[in-house]
């Protein structure tokens, strides 16, 4: 943890790290002169930026009235004091978002709307008279046999299914792929709200080479990919588990993919690879053993 980037140290100073990570960096800054010097340097620039930009943010400012003119289309908020006359400011709205000023009176608009509504009604009814009888629609979804109905899958099945859409090339390490374990750790901690470290499978021949944040329903989810010189990549999905109780390692298969999932201390995990179920379970136990113990 001595090779900390400035980005990570800055996140520490800006209070963006989890408690565990913060205390680790604090300890390191206390014991390592190099880290301590870098932290002090960043603290200095941080103080200057907070002071300067903070005072700009707190400064009382008068909003030019010309900036708030909206062609009468919207209620422009009043400004405290009338600004001095200024020439009209150019509007920076992109061409796609620009609208022509509305000049028609309310009565004309109402009349136009009524006409459109009436013609729509008449046209719609006429169309039903003219159109040929259609074939009967298929049964509603509730009438179909249970086997044909979509049943909401569990989160682990959902993610395993999602994973199956990743072509192998996307999981295979690219020569230019940059593994930034520090940043992966930072993101992982943000997503799970815990000071988590990606599991280390190096003794099993797998090296962490990529972590990316994805969305699963409303949650952020971390996809950690491990590469091996001899085997297909290993992928671990990690996401928060608010509302889920702890559950033991559970194996499942989705097509040719095998996966194991578990919930521990409000974090969900799903590990998948082209391996048999037992191997995956062993890797899951290794991952579990490296997680911080519950307090």
């Amino acid at each position: 943890m001595t090779h900390l980037s400035d980005e990570f140290l800055l996140a520490y100073l800006d209070g963006q790290l989890e408690k565990g990570q913060t205390s680790e960096v604090s300890q390191l800054a206390g014991s390592n002169p190099e880290v301590s010097r870098r932290v002090a340097r960043l603290k200095r620039t941080q103080a200057q930026l907070v002071e300067a930009l903070g005072s700009f943010a707190r400064e009382e400012i008068e909003v030019p009235r010309s900036a708030l003119q909206m062609d009468g289309a919207a209620e422009a908020p009043p400004v405290a004091k009338p600004a001095s006359p200024v020439r009209p400011a150019p509007t920076l709205t992109p061409a796609s978002a620009r609208t022509e000023p509305k000049r028609s009176s309310a009565a004309r608009q109402l009349f136009f709307l009524c006409a459109v509504f009436a013609s729509g009604l008449a046209g719609g009814y006429g169309a039903t008279l003219l159109a040929p009888q259609r074939a009967a629609l298929p049964h509603k979804i509730v009438d179909r046999p249970p086997g044909a109905m979509f049943t909401p899958a569990s989160w682990s099945a959902d993610i395993a299914k999602f994973h199956s859409f990743f072509p192998k090339e996307m999981l295979t390490p690219h020569p230019d792929a940059i593994a930034n374990p520090e940043f992966i750790r930072f993101q992982l901690s943000k997503i799970t709200a815990k000071a988590l470290t990606p599991p280390d499978f190096s003794h099993q021949g797998f090296t962490l080479y990529r972590g990316q944040t994805l969305k699963y329903n409303q949650d952020n989810m971390m996809q950690l990919t491990y590469s091996s010189k001899t085997e297909a990549p290993l992928t671990l999905y990690v996401l928060p588990a608010d509302g889920y109780s702890d559950s033991p390692i559970h194996a499942q298969a989705f097509g040719s993919y095998k996966a194991v999932s578990w919930v521990s201390d409000r974090v969900r995990f799903l590990l998948t690879a082209e391996k048999n179920e037992e191997d995956l379970k062993v890797l899951a136990v290794i991952a579990q053993s490296q997680m911080p113990r519950k307090r």
């Binding site: 980037s5 400035d6 980005e7 990570f8 800055l10 996140a11 100073l13 800006d14 209070g15 963006q16 010097r37 002090a40 340097r41 960043l42 200095r44 620039t45 941080q46 200057q48 930026l49 907070v50 002071e51 300067a52 930009l53 903070g54 005072s55 700009f56 943010a57 400064e59 009382e60 400012i61 008068e62 909003v63 030019p64 010309s66 900036a67 708030l68 003119q69 909206m70 289309a73 919207a74 422009a76 908020p77 009043p78 400004v79 200024v86 400011a89 150019p90 509007t91 920076l92 709205t93 992109p94 978002a97 609208t99 930034n180 940043f183 930072f186 993101q187 943000k190 944040t213």
Partner: protein
């Protein structure tokens, strides 16, 4: 830093209250009064078209910042020479900086105005508005790593500026660094 964060999302207020903050963000992004007025106007209009005035206060402010940032980047993409035509004006920042005990405020204002707009924007969101990294990333639609890099580059630029001016105090870190 405990008392510093979270102003961004907690501060509620009507759109009337939010307007000066939006205008200041426009000034920071453009560093040009005329462009800032136009940008604010465009943002207000875009938010009106999308009914974003209806959002609750905190969301509305975030929407306003985001909409403004999107408009500004779109405008810069449309016209990459815009900042040359309407150059950054450091005088916009001098008055605010002069209230602090900073030495050479005018030069510091020039330094801030000389930063790339994107960098100025994220530095202002984080250190001026007190936004968290997540909030700043939401406004700028940058991924976390890109945001952190921009912030670190801003710090590096400031360190270099301080070094060049020799304003880092006697126990200068950078001087020691150079010596090393």
């Amino acid at each position: 830093m405990a008392a510093y964060g979270n102003i961004f999302s907690q501060q509620a207020g009507t759109i009337h209250k939010a307007m000066p903050r939006l205008y200041k963000f426009a000034l920071v992004l453009t560093a040009n009064e005329e462009l800032a007025r136009g940008l604010l106007r465009g943002t207000v209009r875009a938010m009106h078209i999308r009914n974003e005035w209806q959002d609750e206060d905190a969301r509305r402010l975030t929407s306003g910042f985001r909409r403004m940032y999107v408009l500004w980047t779109a405008k810069l993409n449309e016209d990459p020479g815009l900042q040359k035509k309407c150059p950054p004006d450091p005088r916009l920042f001098v008055a605010a900086f002069a209230k602090g005990p900073l030495a050479s405020n005018a030069q510091f204002a020039r330094f801030i105005a000389s930063l790339p707009a994107e960098q100025r924007g994220v530095l202002y969101l984080v250190y001026g508005e007190g936004a968290s990294y997540d909030e700043a990333a939401e406004v700028t639609a940058l991924n976390m790593l890109a945001l952190m890099k921009l912030l670190a580059q801003g710090h590096a630029a400031l360190t270099q500026w301080l070094d060049e001016r020799g304003t880092v105090s006697g126990d200068s870190y950078s001087h020691r660094e150079r010596a090393a």
